[in-house]
């Protein structure tokens, strides 16, 4: 190739020509090469399409779950109407379905569990985020708390049945309520242990993100450690902590096995926090395979639909808050 500069612009005087030999072998070779590169392009397109389809599968799965739940609970929505949600009696034998005992049971267990676990999870978050972000003991605590989330829920349930229920029964005898042991209080205790890690680990990362100049400014004004936590760290991280608590709540609402094993499984409205009851998840686990009538089955699925919607909304609000906090 030979380039020359004329009038300040580069022109090519001699463009190398590609000579295609007309011999049969050479044509064959060229054809092969073309086919190969076409095949490569095709593979690439197929690969990109496959990736997209895999992404689509996630969307289809969620839509499929939602649609299945809605379609399968249509018979009960049609037959029972919205009053299903606040009907106080659940008696499949005489075809009376009211979800209120289970809604109440779910709300009671979840919020009681949340109330018990919040002081602990916030303390872990403050300890790991502010007092001791590094060192072997904090690391050990962090790993151990994360391990709480790893233990299978059926094992929590089994332990609860064998150890916690007798203890609660003793307690109930002492304070003079009917000593059944199983019930809302026992399941709340188990749940409270199980949901500590969720709020704790999120809270820790939020507290880690507090800018140090804010804390240093407070110290420079003469604030004590507690005053810094109280009036700098907690206000700064309050939405993050709230999001962590929401995620814990979502976990508690959907938790099935541990609760099913220790809540006592009665469809009566719980009289107090010590009486046995049922949550939405536990009643599904117990009665789904026994449901012999279409409306009965459909009523159970409607519970599942309600559970699905509630947990999705709670989780989404939590995620939105986290996104907003971490993007700032």
């Amino acid at each position: 190739m030979d380039t020359s500069v004329e009038n300040g612009s580069i022109t090519r005087s001699d463009i190398p020509l590609r000579v295609i030999s007309s011999s049969p072998e050479a044509i064959l070779k060229a054809k092969k090469r073309t086919r190969l590169s076409f095949r490569q392009i095709r593979t690439e397109t197929i690969f990109k399409k496959t990736l997209m389809i895999m992404g689509l599968i996630m969307i289809i799965l969620v839509l499929g779950i939602l649609l299945t739940l809605i379609v399968q609970s249509l018979p009960s929505i049609k037959a029972l109407g919205p009053s299903y949600l606040w009907g106080k009696v659940w008696n499949p034998v005489s075809d009376v379905y009211g979800a209120w005992p289970f809604l109440l049971g779910t709300l009671l267990t979840s919020f009681l569990a949340l109330a018990i676990s919040i002081p602990f999870s916030i303390s872990v978050a403050i300890f790991l985020g502010e007092y001791h972000p590094q060192g072997w003991l904090p690391n050990l605590l962090k790993d151990t708390v994360e391990l709480i989330a790893a233990v299978p829920s059926v094992i929590y349930g089994f332990w609860g049945l064998a150890v916690l229920v007798p203890i609660v029964r003793d307690l109930e005898t002492h304070i003079g309520v009917e000593p059944v042991g199983v019930g809302i209080f026992s399941s709340s205790l188990i749940l409270a242990i199980m949901i500590i890690p969720y709020a704790a680990s999120l809270g820790r990362s939020m507290i880690n993100m507090v800018p140090s100049h804010l804390k240093e400014a407070a110290y420079a004004l003469g604030a004590t450690r507690w005053e810094v936590i109280r009036s700098v760290i907690l206000p700064y991280t309050k939405s993050g902590l709230f999001a962590g608590i929401l995620l814990s709540l979502g976990r508690a609402l959907g938790e099935t096995m541990a609760v099913t094993m220790v809540i006592g499984n009665t469809s009566l409205i719980p009289k107090n926090i010590f009486s046995p009851g049922n949550t939405m998840a536990s009643v599904i686990a117990n009665e789904f395979t026994e449901a012999d009538k279409p409306v009965y089955l459909s009523a159970l699925i409607e519970l599942g639909l309600v559970l699905f919607l509630v947990t999705v909304v709670i989780n989404m609000i939590g995620k939105k808050i986290i996104d907003r906090v971490t993007n700032d």
């Binding site: 233990v151 299978p152 959907g254 099935t256 989780n315």
Partner: protein, 281 residues
Amino acid sequence: MNIESVKFRLGKSSGFQILIYTLAFACVIPLLFILGYILEAGITKINWHFLVNIPKPVGESGGGIANALLGSVLIIAVASVIAIPIGIMAGIYLSENKKSRLAYWCRLSTDILQGVPSIVIGIVIYFWLVRPLGFSALAGSVALAIMMLPIIVRSTEETLKLLPDSLKEAGLALGLPFHRVIFKVILPVGVGGILSGVMLSIARITGETAPLLFTAFGNPYLSVNMTKPMQSLPLLIYNYATSPYTDWLNLAWGASVVLLLWVLFLNIFTKIITRKWKVQL
């Protein structure tokens, strides 16, 4: 400012510090209690016969959990075979298309799927697979695979997002086709993060009971047929733990120890991977 009020404030500060220390370490106590109790109650039940025999009927002592062990391994293996390719590819898709509308909806779906209660997944799979085909281990595997997916997708995406773009651009500039860049450059570099996501998801589903209740259903006999009901460890624990017979309770305690050790091992292994490859999950 008098010295008394300063002292009071300092005292209050250390008081709260002690309170927070106490509460933080109090969290560990129930876990230690549970682990200790399960190990103490179950470790004596485990021996060779326990691992290779199937449960005996009520009234006969002895028997083991071989059917549940094998069932758990099979169900989890099939679930992984389903979920790992889909999850990793969806993760790659998300990291390659950060801004597209489909990616936004895909990300949203992953978040939603992560929060879906496991029992709801059980119900849905019941209608998708059990109604037409009957209770089967395969249905259980699909249910567990759906629970694995969001974890794998998120960890793959987060890992690949951290890789520098120059890595991919260098490969493409050399004339490598896109899929070879992904398989030969991007995935080998991100393997640590992806692997720990996969391990985490397996650890998560190993103890899941609720989605198996209406799908794999449980089976008192040894079975390797994926199209028939199959026992799994968590199902066995749930069924036998709520039974009144001592022999069955003993089986459940032994099975709990096996399950617990299995899950703890997976978690510790994941921790080691995460530390070694310095992955941020």
